[in-house]
């Protein structure tokens, strides 16, 4: 049985925003599953339906075999939720925050006290446990958020961008902890993130969501394998027409998926080393001086770029709007169950 099973999920908000347009994926027991996608893709909406905070317009969600619409209370017992923004109680101490959270799950007495101590230690909050959380740093609040999601020892933990706003060091610590929970604790983890590199390294499987649909799904390696060859990047000297360069790249044999971001054009090449010298020569001949050239193996960034048409950083900054790039046919459709 899957830990989380989402079938044909659709959600239209009051006011008519179609946030989800038929989403299907499943998270297996004990794995870390990543949900990626640009702003407004529908990640939070999906997560909020899974944790029973919002209801689906159509479709079906099962958590640990329990239908969220039919028995939400049981789902709440089995799942822990960490929302996108911190939700700590400002006027309570770290310990009080955890304690109340445990009480609402029906825990009490020495067992709860011990659990709270354990979590404070685990998330390095012991020394600040008696301080009102108003005085906590962003990272400390985030760690407390995650600790609160764990207080009732859920089988499944759902985190909405747990590492956004953390410094690299704190992000690494957070991921190490999530990995440990999954590997040693047997916990299933569903996590949304904007950090592709982390997702690549730490997720067992992931799905990329865009415009309320899954546009790609699989293990990080499977996703990268769908992009053959190399990624070639050329930067055109400032003051020269980069769009003309992009046109030139598009008509160059052996290059595909050409995308321009400012002065930089990137493309997929079957054999990068082969095509680069010719490409530079052609660009120079056309009066388009090249200021920088790079070649790399496809990373998750390129996968993301090719399925959403947005480079990651740009998508992050510019929101959901943006040009659609070419999408490789193999990845275009959501394939339920594609492993």
């Amino acid at each position: 049985m899957d830990a989380i099973n989402v079938r044909d999920l659709k959600k239209t908000y009051a006011g008519g925003v179609e946030a989800l347009k038929g989403l299907t994926f499943s998270v297996r027991q004990g794995e870390i599953f990543g949900l990626l996608g640009p702003n407004g893709a529908g990640k939070s909406t999906t997560v909020r339906i899974i944790v029973t905070l919002s209801s689906a317009t159509e479709g079906r969600v099962e958590v640990d075999g329990v239908d969220v619409a039919a028995d939400p209370v049981e789902v709440r017992r089995r799942i822990g939720y960490v929302s996108q923004n911190t939700t700590v109680d400002f006027l309570a101490t770290g310990r009080e925050n955890l304690h109340l959270q445990g009480q609402l799950y029906g825990h009490s007495g020495a067992a709860l006290d011990n659990r709270v101590d354990e979590l404070l230690k685990l998330f390095d909050l012991e020394s600040a446990a008696k301080r009102v959380t108003q005085t906590y740093s962003g990272g400390m609040k985030r760690r407390l958020d995650v600790a609160m999601g764990l207080v009732h020892r859920p089988k499944i933990l759902v985190l909405d961008e747990p590492t956004t706003g953390l410094d690299p060091e704190s992000r690494a610590v957070m991921w190490r902890e999530l990995e440990r929970l999954a590997k040693d604790g047997g916990m299933t983890i569903l996590v949304t993130t904007h950090y592709l590199e982390e997702a690549d390294r730490l997720c067992d499987r992931l799905a990329i969501v865009d415009g309320g649909k899954i546009v790609a799904q699989g293990t990080p390696n499977e996703l990268k394998a769908t992009l053959r060859g190399d990624i070639v990047q050329v930067e055109i000297a400032v003051g020269h027409d980069a769009e003309a360069a992009a046109q030139l790249l598009r008509s160059t044999p052996g290059l595909s998926n050409v995308i321009r971001e400012g002065q930089t054009c990137s493309a997929q090449a079957e054999e990068g080393a082969h095509v680069i010298p010719k490409l530079i020569a052609a660009l120079e001949a056309a009066g388009l001086p090249v200021s920088h050239v790079a070649m790399s193996r496809p990373s998750l960034d390129e996968v993301y770029l090719s399925v959403t048409g947005k480079s990651f950083t740009k998508a992050d900054a510019a929101g959901a709007a943006g040009p659609r790039g070419p999408v490789p046919a193999a990845m275009r459709t959501a394939k339920p169950g594609a492993k």
Binding site: R48, V51, T52, V73, L100, L104, Y105, V132
Partner: protein
Amino acid sequence: MKFILDVFHLLMRQWRITLRMPIFLVVSIVQPITWMLLFSQLFGKITMLGAFGSSYVQFLAPGIAIMSALFGSGYAGMGLLNDIDRGVVDRFLATPVTRSALIIARVTHACMTVGVQSCVILGVAMILGARPKAHIISFAAVIIAAALLGGGMAGLSNAMAILTRRQETMFAVLNFTMLPMIYLSSMIMAKQLMPPWIQTVCKYNPVDWAVTIARGGFEGNDWFVWRLAALAGYTTFFGVMATVAFRRYRQTM
């Protein structure tokens, strides 16, 4: 059982918030005392008109308790609005907590703070010369009337918070309701001296029910049982209204 425990735990949280905001605490005590001193100076000569009993402070004390109950809990919805905006309500809703406990705890907390506030006000009034004629019963009448009115107002305030979802709108609506409710009651003016139409309006004003109960009890007159029942009905009505509004809010998410 789970419901009672949930209300209890959330109530403890509300008290913690109250106690950690000492400014609020001070204001909610100092303000009524200021009103009392000010009004008894300003309207001191009014007793010459008769119909105010022995002294104006004696007349005013229960009224000030009721007024403070109204103002003190009128802004109760602000806390809920903050919790909604900060995602605290969502965090609670993702646990198996009984949904209605989230509202009932707030209404109960308002009743309790108003009760404490009334005790302080009566204490100060006694220093200024007011005398509860029926001892413990007098105190009970004022505190119960204030608590019931405060609870109902907290219900209305929470409902407004959920329905408007904006602090400014909420304040506008509440200010617009609270001030007329006070002036269209016998809080500062004896009923016999009001124009007939205001006397009629008073009959339908929960603030006047509360003032009449509190003053009647304070003077050792009878308790106006039917008014008490009406006031309890008003509290229940707005408590339920807030709970229903909250349910609607959850369903539109």
